[in-house]
């Protein structure tokens, strides 16, 4: 205890009256060393919580038990073996005694360790329960440890912080601020301001400087990255500078970018900061703007991460927008974050929509939707009855059919005025001549115009229906038809727009037209017709002489183009259709009321016609006066329409990805996240909608990820969930060229270099803050701007500039961080083929960050580095020296005194 501290304590006792004892206690606490120890221990614990999964922390007691048992077992046996040896070898001299103790001790420890591992450890070692077994071994809090084995505290719902955010959070700040206060107070009250104490004073000053520097640093810190695109190459293949970029994206902060669109003007987008957006857990992944098909089908989503429950974060306009500027987004439009999926795939659901408000009625793009229940009722065991819901969108080919291996259901809506059987599908109720899985319905439209010349037979009066099999040949009106193949599914996916994702039985029929067709200007070239059972409108012909050019199946309805000249729309001179009787086919044709206007709300009880084609072709058709009433399709299996929507709109929503399928590097980065934003209007309390926005890393190249919301009054909004954009202060950068420097023989990358041009932004008076310059940015040669530390500024100006830049929050460093590996690889291949002079990248990514006050922090570190040796080596030496000199002086004075005393 220093003399100064004793004096200070005495002063405290004298100064503070009894009633001020809390103030005295607080002052004493802030002066104490124990408080520093406690606070620093708190920092250590906080750091552990930041980095170590709580599941692992939960394993600590278990490992303590393991370690205790090991030490007890091995140590006990070793000590038991050594104790008698110690006694027995006492008479021996040092060398043999040592050798015996070492040998017996090592042997006993080895044997004990082996025995422990052989017998005890197999009983203790924990094995999680497998699919068909139970957990074995010993583990405390096993479930908790398993569940949170890779989850740190900061990732739990309600906390949701990155490591940086966690370290910047309030508890850590309080700990550090109290520690700094403690250090300042203790330094002032305990340490004498003497030369000998220079070391500890320097150390403490260094710590305080680091703390103050960190406060400044943290308050001004910005870090992110920017993507610089390459420009087009010249004719010789030389690169040209890419577009200028005057901003960068924040690493952590997210924004909702809103752009209001209207016919009159195109406003600039506005970015609104999102506070409190989660990172690691899912919240309300079921959020929808209304009644959805998935909800109707009872499809539930399992969250990929722990479900944090509901979310409600208001998204406010920024202050600058509120402060009297012309608003970029009308102020009556409100935004709220209502859901978050941390790692998800995008899938399309359908939601019920108002035909009028959505504009579908006006544009004629109505998508009616029907929900149908299939019920299998077992009379003898009604409790085992099952109900399977389906949905159909009769206007969309891909969605009007529900298919299973055993049966298929198709739902159609008859056009207005039709009696129930669509006029364009004469095959629906066509009987099969013989039972069979497939039949061909063929008609030659030209027969009404009389006999085909040159043909002895009369033109067929009615369409022909044949039950077919591959290899069979038929003739009709001079056309020769050979069935080359029939399959329940097309060998290639249907890619025609509107039919994508649908499937149908398909027959390949080789058609040889009659020679007489040429007389009427027809094409007599043989061709193979691909006949789709469900979609005759996309039937196609592959003309034989060009067939070799086509290496893939027909892209149905693909426009004619020179490379695909062998493929054409089906020749109308013969109408061929396929009837699929390979499994039970149920077709529901909902009748439309004769006077129903287009898009009218569905009637409460529609009727319709049901056509059931059994496997093999047997046909049953009947009228159903009310489709809501169950009607039997086979024994004990019924269908019933449960709901009818006049219009449904697609709704993109997240489907959480199971943790084992996630790329761990993307967890917590938002890169695979989706955000649910609710849009509402201040003056329309009855209207709101929800849109899920995928995260966009770089806004300028992620325009396809923007989502559009149409308001009931016609206004439109483009919404993007992305990162906050910061402007670069007074300058912009552009990529001039990029090089990946590889090890020899195209080995791994050795370095990356981006040649970057820094250009000042010229003000209204034509003045620029600095001259434009270029810099080769490598992994370890970052660019600094706007003050270029690599340029020759002269000694003094350079030094002053560096120091000023070190404090300036608008001084940025650009480091090479990412590159276009795929583009480089592809262009390398092209370069090898002589198509490019050398490989190139389409973009480079630079890490952008400022480091305000970093030199202050460094100075603090230097002071600490200087003070510690002083405190530990110089001070003791000074103290010894003073003590020795005092002792010498004391000895001298004693001698002198003795001499004087002796003399007296």
């Amino acid at each position: 205890m220093s003399l100064k501290w004793q004096r200070v304590k005495a002063w405290d006792d004298a100064f503070f009256p009894a009633w001020a004892c809390p103030a005295k206690a607080l002052l004493r606490a802030l002066s104490s060393i124990w408080l520093a120890v406690i606070l620093l221990s708190g920092v250590v614990v906080y750091g552990i919580l930041a980095s170590v999964p709580i599941g692992m922390l939960a394993l600590l007691p278990t490992w303590l038990v393991y370690a205790g048992l090991f030490v007890a077992g091995v140590g006990g046996i070793t000590i038991a073996a050594l104790a008698p040896t110690l006694a027995l070898t006492r008479p021996l001299t040092r060398t043999p005694r040592f050798l015996m103790l070492l040998g017996i001790g090592s042997l006993a420890a080895g044997v004990a360790a082996w025995a422990w591992l052989r017998f005890a450890w197999p009983m203790l070692e924990y094995h999680a329960p497998t699919g068909d077994g139970e957990a074995t071994g010993f583990r405390l809090f096993a479930d908790f440890a398993e569940r949170y084995q890779s989850t740190t505290l900061r990732r739990l719902p309600g906390i949701e912080m990155t490591e940086l955010e966690f370290y910047s959070a309030l508890p850590m700040r309080v700990l550090l601020l109290v520690f700094v206060l403690n250090m300042v107070v203790a330094t002032i009250r305990r340490i004498a301001f003497e030369f000998v104490n220079l070391g500890v004073l320097t150390v403490h000053t260094g710590i305080v400087l680091i703390a103050l520097g960190s406060v400044y640093y943290a308050s001004q810190k910005r870090e992110g990255n920017t993507l610089l695109q390459a420009g087009p190459t010249t004719e010789r293949g030389d690169p040209t500078p890419g577009p200028p970029v005057g901003f960068f994206y924040d690493n952590v902060e997210t924004v909702l970018v809103v752009q209001q669109l209207s016919f009159r003007e195109m406003r600039d987008p506005e970015q609104r900061r999102l506070a409190g957006v989660p990172r690691y857990n899912d919240y309300n992944v079921e959020a929808t703007p209304g009644q959805s098909v998935w909800a109707a089908l009872a499809r539930t989503l399992e969250p990929a991460a722990p479900d944090g429950g509901d979310l409600s974060l208001r998204v406010e306009s920024s202050r600058s927008q509120q402060a009297g500027r012309t608003p970029l987004v009308d102020p009556d439009i409100n935004f709220r974050v209502v859901g978050y999926a941390s790692y998800a795939e995008r899938e399309t659901d359908w939601v019920r929509a108002d035909p009028l408000a959505s504009g579908a009625l006006m544009s004629g793009t109505l998508n009616p939707l029907r929900l149908v229940d299939l019920a299998a009722v077992l009379p003898e065991a009604p409790e085992q009855s099952t109900r399977v819901p389906f949905f159909f969108m009769p206007r969309l080919p891909a969605h009007r059919i529900a298919e299973t291996p055993a049966f298929a259901i198709e739902y159609r809506i008859a056009e207005v005025g039709e009696s129930g059987i669509p006029a364009n599908d004469p095959t629906l109720e066509a009987p099969l001549p013989q039972p069979g899985p497939y039949a061909l319905w063929v008609r030659v439209p030209g027969r009404d115009e009389g006999q085909i010349e040159g043909q002895g037979n009369a033109a067929t009066a009615d369409p022909q229906v044949w039950t077919i099999a591959p290899g069979q040949v038929y003739e009709i009106d001079g056309f020769r038809l050979e069935i080359t193949d029939v399959s329940p599914e097309p060998p290639f996916p249907i890619v025609t727009e509107g039919y994508r994702g649908s499937t149908s039985a398909v027959a390949q029929v080789r058609v040889v037209p009659p020679a007489s067709l040429a007389d009427s200007g027809g094409d007599t070239t043989p061709y193979t017709r691909w006949v789709y059972a469900r979609f005759p409108e996309i039937n196609q012909d592959l003309v034989e002489q060009n067939q070799a050019e086509s290496t893939s199946g027909p892209a149905a309805n693909a426009p004619m183009s020179p490379p695909m000249s062998g493929r054409r729309d089906a020749d109308p001179s013969i109408d061929i259709r396929l009837i699929d009787a390979s499994k039970l086919q149920v077709t529901i044709v909902e009748a439309a009321p004769a006077d129903a206007p287009p898009g009218a709300a569905p009637t409460p009880a529609p009727g319709g016609r049901i056509v059931i084609r059994q496997r093999g072709g047997a046909l049953r058709a009947f009228d159903a006066p009310n489709l809501r009433e169950p009607f039997e399709i086979v024994q004990a299996v019924t269908l019933a329409v449960t709901d009818r929507w006049a219009h449904a709109e697609p709704f993109e929503r997240p489907v959480p990805v199971p943790p084992m399928q996630q790329n761990r590097e993307m967890v917590g980065t938002h890169q695979r996240a989706m955000l649910a934003v609710e849009v509402s209007l201040a003056n329309r309390s009855d209207w709101r909608t929800v849109v899920w926005l995928p995260f966009v890393q770089y806004l300028e190249i992620g325009t396809d990820m923007a989502r559009t919301v149409r308001l009931p009054d016609g206004r439109q909004l483009r919404l993007v969930f992305g990162r906050r954009q910061h402007r670069l202060p007074g300058f912009q950068v552009r990529l001039v060229d990029f090089q990946m420097l590889a090890y020899d023989h195209r080995g791994a990358p050795r370095d990356y270099q981006s040649i970057v041009r820094v250009e000042p932004i010229v003000d209204e008076r034509g003045r620029a803050a600095f001259d434009a310059f270029e810099h080769v940015t490598k992994l370890n040669a970052p660019l600094t701007a706007p003050f270029n530390t690599h340029a020759d500024h002269g000694l003094v100006a350079g030094l002053v500039g560096r120091l000023a830049a070190g404090l300036d929050p608008d001084q940025y460093k650009f480091s090479q961080a990412g590159w276009d590996a795929e583009g480089w690889r592809e262009s390398q291949t092209l370069a090898d083929q002589g198509l490019l002079p050398r490989p190139r990248a389409r973009f480079t990514i630079l890490q952008v960050g400022n480091y305000p006050g970093i030199h202050v922090i460094a100075l603090g570190g230097i002071l600490m580095a200087l003070g510690i040796p002083w405190a530990f080596y110089v001070k003791p030496w000074l103290v010894r020296r003073r003590r020795d000199s005092l002792a010498a002086a004391a000895r001298g004075s004693t001698t002198e005194a003795r001499r004087h005393g002796g003399g007296t």
């Binding site: 040592f98 087009p232 901003f247 084992m660 806004l699 190249i701 992620g702 023989h745 961080a817």
Partner: protein
């Protein structure tokens, strides 16, 4: 910020959009008139937008490619393996005899490009066999009548070539390492139900057969795919299967024409414009490889040795100017020396000797300990330096290298302190540190044991080099300090209290109470120093 909240309009919606529209128009109208390089550039530029959303970080560890993808479609240079289920594979004993009759030495130091660097065939073999079997040499057991078994071991190069030339031999051999015991057990339960003895045998070998893996892999994925350790095990098994089936793709044995070109696979067609001598050598090498394959499959060791000699002679003459020379010898020496393995053994012996010297007070034993320590550091240092040369970088950039670097720095400092202060305690601490760290690095699955390319930023950063070196040195010194402290604690608790501690601190190999055992014992700790060690000076 002028408009804090607005997205910079010049960039987001205008510049990029305008640029792209302009390019699109340009593309549509002018592209057919452009020269090929410009056309390709424009196409590439227009096609990039979605890619950069998840651009790879430039500082990432280079992607590992155990099987060279670009050569996967090329034919096997040693000829196609015979997959005839009616023909019984060679017996293990015959395979062993054939292996013994082969002389693979000429092939061992041939250069091969694999996974981002040029290495020698011996290294590729060690890496491949380790990846597949979990150890550097493939071992199997010959069953003899009466339940007797004989262990056979095949050197890595033989195993690699055998996997490429005669993979069917291994279909029912215990080839594929499954580290995770519950997964291994599950495979064996499914593959050998009820056969406890066979299961136990495979369990002990830690390997299963390719047939077991192929037949039960999907079942295991279904059962254990959700559990992290099993999933890791299944991934490793998948990689091992790929190596077993596709190692022929790794035969990039032909040197390229320039440093900017890739190495060639032996089965590639000859590049256009190659000089006649090179082309002849390439053809000779291909023919020799084909002959080797035929002879190997026929178990004709004489013909195989002849083909080996021809192959080894032909390959270095193709683009000879770029064929590595001295580095191959160094790599072979590095592989053969097993510097880090021998290093821990020597450190251990040194530690034992020095501990014995402390206990017995024999100066000669201490001398032996120090000599062993010097030998260990020499071996360790050779490994470290050779690795630096082979890796073309300061080899402290992955976990394995960090450990070998840490222990080398600590051992050198310990040796220096021993010499400087004549305290053998530091030598013992150095030996213990070297032993503990090296045995952990070499005998456990520490990543980075094979020489690979590391993240680019680690290669060029001078600052990082100093930073990492300083940090690692400090780790080494901390370990040294810890071991030294353990000696003190041991002396305090198991020795004779303060006198033993003082003896250690003074560098004596015997307590000061027993004088007369040589010069070492005469070095006593000054009283002031012991006083100093007991009363700390706290900074104020």
């Amino acid at each position: 910020m002028a408009v804090e909240s607005s997205v910079q309009p010049t960039s987001l919606s205008r510049a990029a959009h305008t640029l792209r529209i302009a390019f699109t128009r340009f593309f549509a109208r002018a592209l057919p008139c452009l020269p090929p390089c410009l056309r390709v550039s424009v196409v590439m530029l227009l096609s990039f937008p979605a890619l950069a959303q998840t651009a790879p970080a430039g500082n990432a560890h280079p992607e590992s490619a155990l099987v060279t993808e670009q050569a996967a479609a090329l034919p096997n240079p040693f000829g196609d393996p015979v997959f005839d289920p009616t023909v019984a594979p060679l017996s293990l004993a015959d395979k062993g005899d054939f292996a013994a009759a082969l002389d693979l030495a000429p092939l061992r130091s041939l250069a091969v490009f694999h996974n981002g660097r040029v290495k020698i065939l011996d290294t590729l073999a060690r890496e491949t066999v380790r990846q597949i079997t979990g150890r550097t040499t493939y071992q199997d057991v010959i069953d003899a009548p009466g339940g007797e078994t004989t262990k056979v071991s095949f050197e890595p190069l033989f195993t690699l070539l055998d996997l490429v030339i005669d993979p069917t031999f291994y279909v029912d051999r215990p080839l594929l390492h499954v580290e995770y015991l519950p997964l291994r057990r599950a495979f064996l339960d499914s593959a050998l139900p009820g056969d406890e003895a066979a299961q136990q045998r495979y369990l002990m070998m830690t390997r299963i057969t390719p047939r077991m893996a192929a037949e039960h892999y999907l079942e295991m994925v279904d059962r254990f795919g959700t559990q992290a350790p099993s999933r890791r095990g299944l991934d490793e098994l998948d990689r091992a299967m790929a190596l077993w089936q596709e190692s022929a793709a790794n035969m990039l044995l032909v040197a390229p024409e320039s440093r900017d070109d890739s190495w060639h696979h032996l089965s590639e067609p000859l590049p256009p414009g190659m000089d006649a001598a090179g082309a002849k050598a390439w053809r000779d090498a291909s023919a020799a490889a084909a002959d080797l394959g035929r002879a190997w499959r026929a178990s004709d060791a004489t013909a195989a040795n002849d083909a080996i000699t021809r192959l080894a002679a032909a390959l270095p003459t193709i683009n000879a100017g770029l064929y590595p020379d001295s580095r191959r010898s160094l790599e072979l020496a590095y592989n053969r020396a097993g510097a880090f393995e021998w290093g821990w053994v020597l450190y251990f012996l040194s530690l034992i000797a020095l501990v014995l010297a402390f206990g017995t007070g024999r100066r000669a034993v201490a001398g032996v300990g120090v000599a062993l320590l010097i030998a260990a550091i020499g071996m360790h240092g050779f490994g470290f330096v050779a690795r630096c040369v082979l890796a073309e970088r300061f080899a402290i950039q992955n976990q394995f290298e960090s450990m070998t670097g840490v222990s080398l720095f600590a051992a050198i400092v310990g040796l220096a302190l021993t010499g400087l202060f004549r305290k053998y305690l530091y030598g013992a601490a150095a030996a213990a540190t070297g032993f503990l760290v090296l045995i952990a690095a070499t005998q456990t699955a520490i990543p980075g044991q094979f020489i690979e390319r590391e993240a680019a930023i680690l290669n060029t950063s001078v600052l990082l080099k100093y930073h990492v070196t300083t940090v690692l040195t400090s780790y080494g010194l901390i370990t040294l300090g810890m071991v030294t402290s353990l000696f003190y604690l041991g002396a305090h608790y198991f020795g004779r209290g303060a006198s033993s501690v003082a003896a250690l601190a003074g560098g004596a190999v015997a307590p000061p109470t027993e004088p007369g055992r040589g010069r070492l014992l005469r070095r006593q700790l000054p009283a002031s120093a012991t006083a100093c060690s007991r009363t700390s000076t706290r900074p104020r």
